[in-house]
Amino acid sequence: MSTQAQSRASSFFSAENISRYAVVLAFAALLVVFSVASPTFFTGANLYNVLLNNVVLLAIVALGMTVVITAGGIDLSVGVSVDMASMVFIMLLAAGYGVPLGILAGLCAAGAVGLLNAVLITRLKISPFLATLGVLFIGQSVQQIATGGGQPIYLVTGEFASIFNAIVRTQVLGLPMPLIILVLCLGAVYAALHHSVFGRYVRAFGAQPGVAWYSGIRVPFNMSMVYVACGLLCGVAGILLSSTVRSYVPLSGNAFLLDAIGATFIGTTISAERRPSVIGTLLGVALLAIVKNGLLLVGWNFYWQQVGVGVLVFLILALSFGLRGRNH
């Protein structure tokens, strides 16, 4: 009996478990460290602020990236999708079209970026890396041409303020709208990836692309849906972003790219097979967000924050990957 308990205890602290839950442990440890180091960190107001300002947008983009990475691809053009939705939405609002049309057209623009990626990858058989890189270049150019070299568009007058407030500040059941939208996106992606036939196909593409093809799965169609879904999710983030800052700033979406890739891959460490998952990605996003916020509150300047984020992420990855040894 006692030996059994002992072995259970030792297996609980095994290298396998530590490496698998390194991100969770680090997350908890960082919460404690920052709470001790800064009196304002572990307050409802600050955490709520982090959630609303740092987590929501990145989480939605990272969800799109998660779908693509699950399918064995990568999307370097998420920033373009974010920007396109933001640009079309703000331009239509400025031109006097209503909010519903603006949102719809914005989402369509982002979806179109995803569709372009999908055509390049599934029909022209270009590798995801090169296809989305090409779309990134094209998207940056389109924005510069449309805005005369990158002039931001600000909508600050009163009538627009009420529109943006209606989108960002409305509360449903005591929760602000962006949070509701994040939860809806989370639920949709979770259901699609983990509880649907489509999700099973997508995971098959990532794990065994050849076998998926020979099993008769319609790879081009389903793969196209993956990239369109990613584009649409980024579009949602783009509309929320421009509603929050009440403007469209060209080329601003690219800031999400590396964080979204990082969050998704950090999330893969909690799965035994190193596959991306919705929960893992969310954990990755939360980790990046509290590290940035915590270092800011502790008083590090921007330069040192960047080093700090890099070192912390590196250490967590080292703990997670290093302990698991060479098993690939």
Partner: protein, 340 residues
């Protein structure tokens, strides 16, 4: 898991392809001609439409302007060769551009604080190699995915550059850097010579030495390479250290050319990736080669130059570049034997 899939696939392929080996050879030939043909067509268009495009000095000018990108693209190519070209798990060094920025900062700051040339040189190259070593440790010993490991290192390195320069332009000039920037030998500028010599060295190293051949083996099939007695870890680690070395060398050219270390070197990353990956379409097996990398680097250089000569607004240039890159790659993949 992926390896099993690949083995199963290649088994099937060889079974179906064995009968039509000649058709495959023809197809492969078409592929290479497709990419090179598209490349040639675009250059021919510039030659016809842009006055002075084919002028010897203009061509030399493009080679000179491509020197920095070329050196860095070779670093990236070697990492991709050694790590394999899988989209997610293959070799890639996202920290390369940031590393170049850090090395440039080290070079400019150390010169400004009065160290002698050999010392600053050693510090610059040393910084690049050290960052490369960090990547190597992360990828080989700690077993972190290259995409993720180099992403974290990129953050650290970019932050270190900001701390060193406080996000300002650190200007510097010495006889040595002036020589690189404006000197010439046999009518060809020193920067262009650097690229030419570096390219010849890379061709010799990658395609005419045993080490180069073994590097391709490591990237193509690590298990088989290990079974054949190759020290896979040393080779993969070596590629990251080499990329760091390239960052150091590239930064010296960069500082010489601009007479300063400037913030924003990290933005080179996308061009470096484009040059290294675009180069794969010029090879038979779609892996980076020395010839492919230099061709695609010059292609990117000629595109920017041609648009300048045609007076196309700079807003259009990145977009048209992206489109043409997709065109060249698509020309290849259409002729490519079907591959999932």
């Amino acid at each position: 898991m992926t390896t099993n899939g690949e083995m199963a696939m290649s088994g099937m392929e060889s079974a179906t392809v064995a009968g039509s080996a000649r058709r495959k050879a023809l197809g492969t030939m078409l592929v290479r001609l497709g990419a090179i043909g598209t490349f040639a067509l675009i250059l021919a268009y510039f030659a016809l439409m842009a006055p002075g495009f084919l002028n010897f000095y203009n061509i030399l000018n493009v080679v000179e302007q491509s020197a920095i990108l070329g050196v860095l693209a070779f670093g990236m190519s070697v990492v991709v060769i050694g790590g394999g070209s899988d989209v997610q798990t293959g070799g890639i060094d996202l920290s390369l551009a940031a590393n170049t920025g850090l090395c440039a900062a080290v070079f400019a700051v150390s010169t400004a604080s009065g160290f002698s040339l050999p010392v600053t040189f050693a510090m610059t190259i040393g910084a690049g190699v050290l960052v490369g070593l960090l990547n190597a440790v992360a990828v080989v010993w700690l077993n972190i995915l290259p995409l993720l490991a180099t992403l974290a290192v990129m953050n650290v390195v970019a932050g270190a550059e900001l701390i060193l320069t406080q996000n300002t332009v650190v200007s510097m000039a010495s006889d040595f850097t002036m020589n690189i920037a404006t000197g010439s030998f046999l009518g060809v500028s020193v920067l262009a010579w650097c690229l030419i010599v570096f390219t010849l060295l890379m061709v010799a190293f990658l395609h005419f030495t045993g080490t180069g051949l073994r590097l391709y083996a490591v990237g193509g099939h690590p298990e088989a390479a290990r079974a054949a007695g190759i020290n896979v870890a040393a080779y993969v680690g070596g590629t990251y250290v080499f990329a760091g070395l390239c960052a150091g060398l590239g930064s010296i050219l960069l500082v010489s050319r601009l007479s300063a270390s400037t913030p924003g070197t990290g933005e080179l990353l996308l061009s470096i990736i484009a040059a290294a990956l675009l180069g794969t379409v010029f090879s038979r097996r779609f892996v980076p080669t020395a010839g492919g990398t230099i061709l695609s680097t010059l292609f990117i250089g000629f595109l920017a130059n041609g648009f300048q000569l045609l007076n196309v607004s700079s807003y259009w240039v990145t977009g048209v570049q992206g489109t043409l890159i997709l065109l060249v790659v698509a020309a290849t993949s259409f002729a490519k034997p079907s591959e999932r």
